[in-house]
């Protein structure tokens, strides 16, 4: 039992993570203690075994080529090298306008992607949280008034009695420093987050897409923007979106 304090340090020692003075002390003990030395040897063998077993999977050459192609910067073609200067000179004005338009479009699209990623992150955090909601209720007449005074707008919640959806509760959420409502619904074993924020104008009007395997629906109505996010089926998200639209 006297060796317990030494064996506790063995892994850290063998990983090379003990401070020099302590490592030296373990070193010295191992020289004089056959039991601990045998233990250390077994652990070294285990480390070696995992190291050897760790190399197991090799990427497919076709996959490697695909990734290289994906991340490689597109090279200018011969045509563009020869004619682009002429084209640019001749159409400088047109190009300037087109570039400005494309940049704005790209900027908006990137902003929209970031926005949705942020909301997907919030939804994932809810899935992992032990206390996902601040107001727990299946009654829309309890959940809706709870938000009064907490967010600068109000909204309508749908009647769910004849639908497969159950309202779990809600919490205050933030997007671009603006407070909004996050409502959690359940359908079978899936949770769906519905985010409602004040419409900031520049976002897309209506969208259905998949991000990191999560289904996303968004639309604008009456000065508010709605985002519905979850890993339920596309049909479920469409149905819930329709119910909320009908209530709004």
């Amino acid at each position: 039992m006297a060796c317990d304090s030494w064996t506790e340090q063995l892994d850290t020692y063998l990983d090379g993570e003990l401070p020099t003075a302590e490592a030296r002390a373990v070193d010295e003990h191992l020289r004089g203690c056959p039991s601990c030395a045998a233990q250390a040897l077994r652990r070294v063998e285990q480390k070696r075994a995992v190291h050897a077993a760790g190399q197991r999977f090799t990427p497919d050459p076709a996959f490697r080529a695909r990734i290289q192609k994906t991340i490689a910067a597109p090279k200018p073609t011969l045509w563009s090298q020869r004619w682009l200067p002429v084209f640019v000179t001749a159409n400088a004005g047109v190009l300037l306008i087109a570039s400005a338009f494309l940049l704005t479009l790209q900027h908006n699209r990137r902003g929209e992607q970031q926005l949705i990623s942020e909301l997907v992150d919030q939804h994932v955090a809810i899935l992992a949280s032990a206390n996902p909601v601040d107001v727990v209720s299946t009654d829309r007449h309890t959940v809706k008034p709870w938000f009064a005074g907490k967010i600068p707008f109000t909204f309508n919640l749908p009647e769910l009695q004849s639908s497969p959806f159950v309202l779990v509760g809600g919490r205050v959420s933030y997007l671009s420093q603006s407070p909004g409502a996050e409502l959690i619904f359940r359908v079978r074993q899936h949770q769906i987050s519905v985010f409602i924020f004040q419409d900031q104008g520049a976002r897309s009007t209506e969208l259905a897409r998949t991000t990191l395997s999560f289904q996303v629906r968004t639309w604008r109505h009456n000065g508010l923007q709605y985002f519905v996010i979850g890993d339920a089926s596309p049909q479920d998200l469409d149905n819930l979106s329709e119910l909320i639209k009908a209530a709004g």
Binding site: Q46, G54, T58
Partner: protein, 165 residues
Amino acid sequence: MPLFDRLYNFAQWLTQDRHEAEDLVQETYVKALKGFRSFQQGTNFRAWIYQILRNTFLTSRTGLKSTATVPLEPESDQEHLPASDDTPETILLQRSDQELVQQALSRLAVPYREVLLLCEFEEMSYQEISATLAIPMGTVMSRLSRARRALRDAVQDCSKRNKVT
């Protein structure tokens, strides 16, 4: 492409599926390229890109399932673990063949499998593992200790099963 083979190997260990591993690696590179500005020069590039891969995995369907369904023993920072109770049976590990260890590793819970691979195969320091997994150093140590013990048990178990079949 930096670390491509190793990232792929790690991705398939996490997902246990070739197609999912390919999607995971592709998404990791796309995110790394997009977010390269967020990488601070002088800090650890390897830990940064592994962190992207792991975070991407955790938000995937398989990742969410793996972390939601695996009950780990409670672990705390700077926890004192009892001395390991190696028995002659566990010496089996040193003589076991590579396939058996791979089989045992596959059966470990993802948090144990990843910490073992980062330490033993990738040979990351505790500090790098702490940065990659976003957990304190004390937790790295206690999780590693539990993972090693779990691996020894899994090797024994796989060995017994293989003998029966």
